[in-house]
Symmetry: C2
Subunit: 431 residues, 2 copies
C-alpha cells in the first residue's frame, strides 16, 4: 500500500521505460542531426539570475516564471529563477564568451525549460525544446536562414510523421507592404489579423480589416497578399507584380528568393512553400519566418518554427549580434505522437536480448556471450534472478525483443537458441 502521494508534479512528462526509450531515441537522433550539420552543443545552467531572465520579458513570462528560493548558504546571491526558454541563456552565453567563440556561432541547445502555466491536457510546465541558432557578429548572410531550416527539416524526418510541409515567409514583405500603403501606424492590428487569419472564416478576416478604416482598396491588397501561397515560381512573380518600390519590400523578395532557392539544394526532398500567412508574433522576428505543418494532422499546429532576428542580446551588450534560429518542441510533440497512435508503446522493447544463465555455473559463458553481443551494439540484460525459467521468460517478454536460456548443454555445444519474443520464432546461433 502506498503511504504517500507519489505522483509526479502536475505539468511534467513522466514516461514508463519503453516510452522513455523512444523519447530518448528521437531526442538523441535530433541531437545527432544538429551535430552533423556543424552545430555546437552548449549547456547553460537551468537557474539564471532573475534580472537576466526578465531583462526583456514581462507580462505573462514574469507571471509564469519559477523563482528559486535562496537557501541559508546562498543568502548573499541575487534573486534566481528557472529559465523559460533557450534564447535568453543563449544571449547571455554569447555575450559572456564573445571573445572565445568562433563566429558565425552555430549553437544547439536540447534541454528542458520551465513555465508555470495553468495545467491542461497537452500543456507542459517542464518541457524539452530542441533549438538551433546561428549568431553572427555584426552581420550574418541570409544563406544561414536556409541552413537552419534545412537542418531542422533533416531532424523532422526522424519523427514518425506522415510527411510535413515547411511554410516560409519574410517579415520585411509585410512591413514593406504596410509602409507602401502608409499603414505603418496600424501595423500591429494588421499583423494580428493576419496571424489569426488561418483559424477564421475569410469573411471575418476581411471584415476585421475593413473595421480598421483603411479603405477597401487596401483591404483587397492586404488580403491578396496574405493569401499568396505556393512554390517560389508561383509566389515570387506575384509579389513582384504588386509593383511596390518600397526598399524593405524589395529586400523581403530578394531574401525570400535566396532562402527558397538555397533550400532546393540544402533540403532537396522537403516540401517547402512560400506562405504569406506566416507572421510569427510581433516583437521578435525581423526577416525570414517559418512554420511547419503536418498536412494529415493540421490540428496539431506548427511542430517546428523560428526565424531571423536583428539582434540577439541588445539588453546585455552594445555589440550587434544578428541571428536566425528555430526549435522543435519535443515534449508536446511526443505527447501528440502518442495521443495520435503514431508512437505505440506496446511495440517498444527497450532491451535487445535477455540472456538467462540456467545457474551460476553458466554465468561465465553467458557473460562472455553478453560482452560479444554488446560489442556488436546490442543491449543485453543478463538475468541473474533465482526464479523459475518461466518467470524469467515472462520478465524477458516485458523488457526485451529476444531471449535465450544458457544451460550446460548450450555451453558444451557452443551454440544457443535465440527466441523472438514477439513472433515466437527461434534461431540457432553460435557463441
Amino acid at each position: 500500500m502506498k503511504k504517500f502521494n507519489t505522483a509526479p508534479i502536475s505539468g511534467a512528462q513522466e514516461l514508463l521505460p519503453a516510452l522513455q526509450a523512444e523519447f530518448d531515441r528521437l531526442k538523441d537522433g535530433i541531437a545527432e542531426v544538429y551535430a552533423r550539420h556543424g552545430f555546437l552543443s552548449i549547456e547553460t545552467p537551468l537557474i539564471e539570475r532573475t534580472e537576466v531572465l526578465l531583462a526583456k520579458a514581462g507580462g505573462d513570462t514574469e507571471k509564469q516564471i519559477y523563482k528559486v528560493v535562496k537557501t541559508a548558504e546562498l543568502a548573499d546571491d541575487a534573486d534566481q529563477a528557472l529559465r523559460f526558454d533557450h534564447t535568453v541563456p543563449l544571449a547571455r552565453y554569447t555575450v559572456e564568451h564573445l571573445n572565445d567563440l568562433a563566429f558565425p556561432f552555430k549553437a544547439t541547445q536540447i534541454n528542458r525549460n520551465y513555465r508555470g502555466e495553468r495545467a491542461q491536457k497537452g500543456r507542459f510546465r517542464e518541457f524539452y525544446q530542441c533549438d538551433v541558432d546561428v549568431i553572427g557578429w555584426n552581420n550574418l548572410p541570409v544563406a544561414y536562414d536556409a541552413e537552419v531550416i534545412a537542418t531542422l527539416c533533416e531532424a523532422m524526418k526522424l519523427l514518425p510523421l506522415p510527411g510535413f510541409v515547411v511554410r516560409v515567409s519574410n517579415r520585411k514583405l509585410l512591413s514593406g507592404l504596410l509602409a507602401e500603403l502608409n499603414l505603418d501606424h496600424q501595423a500591429s492590428e494588421i499583423f494580428d489579423i493576419i496571424d489569426h487569419a488561418e483559424k477564421m472564416p475569410a469573411e471575418k478576416t476581411t471584415a476585421a480589416l475593413g473595421d480598421l478604416g483603411i479603405g477597401s482598396e487596401n483591404v483587397v491588397k492586404i488580403t491578396t497578399f496574405m493569401n499568396l501561397q505556393g512554390s517560389s515560381e508561383q509566389v515570387l512573380p506575384e509579389l513582384r507584380g504588386f509593383g511596390f518600390q518600397n526598399p524593405v519590400f524589395q529586400e523581403g523578395i530578394e531574401e525570400l528568393e535566396t532562402v527558397l532557392s538555397l533550400l532546393k539544394d540544402l533540403a532537396p526532398e522537403v516540401e517547402v512553400v512560400a506562405d504569406m500567412l506566416i507572421v510569427r508574433g510581433l516583437d521578435y522576428y525581423t526577416g525570414t519566418v517559418f512554420e511547419t505543418i503536418v498536412p494529415d494532422y493540421r490540428a496539431i499546429g506548427s511542430i517546428c518554427s523560428g526565424g531571423r532576428y536583428e539582434n540577439l542580446a541588445s539588453n546585455y551588450t552594445d555589440q550587434v549580434l544578428p541571428g536566425v534560429g528555430g526549435s522543435i518542441g519535443l515534449t508536446r510533440l511526443f505527447w501528440i505522437l502518442h495521443e495520435y497512435g503514431l508512437v505505440k508503446p506496446e511495440e517498444l522493447k527497450p532491451v535487445d536480448i535477455c540472456l538467462i544463465p540456467m545457474s551460476l555455473h553458466e554465468v561465465p559463458a553467458a557473460a562472455r556471450l553478453a560482452e560479444n553481443l554488446r560489442r556488436q551494439g546490442r543491449s543485453v540484460d543478463l538475468v541473474l534472478t533465482e526464479k523459475k525459467i518461466g518467470d524469467k521468460l515472462k520478465y524477458a517478454a516485458k523488457v526485451a525483443k529476444y531471449a535465450s536460456a544458457i544451460g550446460s548443454s548450450e555451453v558444451e555445444s557452443g551454440s544457443y537458441q535465440l527466441k523472438d519474443l514477439e513472433s515466437g520464432t527461434i534461431e540457432t546461433c553460435k557463441f
Copy 2:
C-alpha cells in the same frame, strides 16, 4: 561593451563548445554502456513536492535544498523544490509505477541535481550524476551487486584516466564483527573512525579506538580487520580465520565471495580488491559497498561508489524494495580531468569538416558533398559567410579538424582537397 553581468550563476559548470562536446561524448558514452547492459533510462521532473524530497532527509539536505516559488498560476499547488539526488525520485517513480514495471527493475538516470552548498572550487551546486540501480520486489540476488559494479567499470573505462581500482567490502562484515565483540552500542563511533582511517596516521586511529574504552584486544581485532585488503584469495581466508560464528558476519563473507567471484567473469579486465576500509556513511547501505580510486591520482578520492540498500522506498510504500546502485559524479569528475590536464581543450575540435563553397554557385555541389559525408557519420559545417577565404579558413581552424574549399574547378574535376588543420597535410578526395 557589456551592459549586464552575464556570468552564469555561481556553482554551475558552463563550458565552451569544445569542452562541452567532450563532456557530452563522455556522458553519452556512459549512457550507451548502461543501456547495453540492459539498464532502462528514466527521467523524472527536476521539481518534486518538498514533502517527497524531505520524507527521509533532514539536516544539511534541508538547508541546501532549492525551493521553488509558486507562481500566480500555481497558487494551489503544494510546496515544491529541486531534487538533490536521483535516489528520492527513483523511489517515488518505482512506487508510482510499481505495477507497470518489470522486476528486477534495472534503472539508469543521467541528469542534473541541485544542492545550494557554499560555493568553492570544484564544488558544484548544479551537477550531473550518472546512476544505475537494480530494484527488486521483495528480494534481489546478490549477483546484481556484481552486475552493477561491472556495468560502472565498463563505463569508467571510457574516461581518460590512467587506470582505476574498485575497492569492495560488505557492511555485514563490520556489523557482524561488532555484534561478535558485543560492541553494537558503539557501532556509530567505530564506523566513523574506520570511515576516516584512510586520511589519518595509523597511531591516531588506534588511539581513537583506544579512547572508546573497548579494551586493547578489541582494538587489535578491529584494526586487524580494517586493514585487510587484497584479492579475494588473500582476504577471504583471513576473514574466515577470525573464527567468528556470528551469522551476519558469515553472510557478509558469503556475499563478498559471490560478488568478487562474479566480478571475475563480469569485469574480467578490471582490478577489483576486497578492502575493509570501505564503509560508505552510516544510514543507507546494508550489504555490499564499493568505491573506486585512481592510483595515480589518489587525492581525487572515489570517482564512482555505491552499494546495496535494504529498502528503497520505505517512506512511500509498505512494499519491500531492496536495491543496489552506484553513481559516477560526472560534473566534478570532468572538472578534475580538466584541472589535471587529462582533458585538453586545445586538442578538441567539435566539427569534423568545414566545407567552404567559394561562391553561391558552388553551394549545390558542396551541399551534396556535405550530405554524403554526413551519411558516413561525419559532422560537416557548410561555411556560408561572405568573407575572404583566409577569414573562412581561420574560422574553420577554430571549430573543425579538416577544411576544404569548393570552387568551380573542384566541381568540374569532381575531386577536392581536404586539409588537415592541425598538421597542414592535404589529401585529395573524390566527391
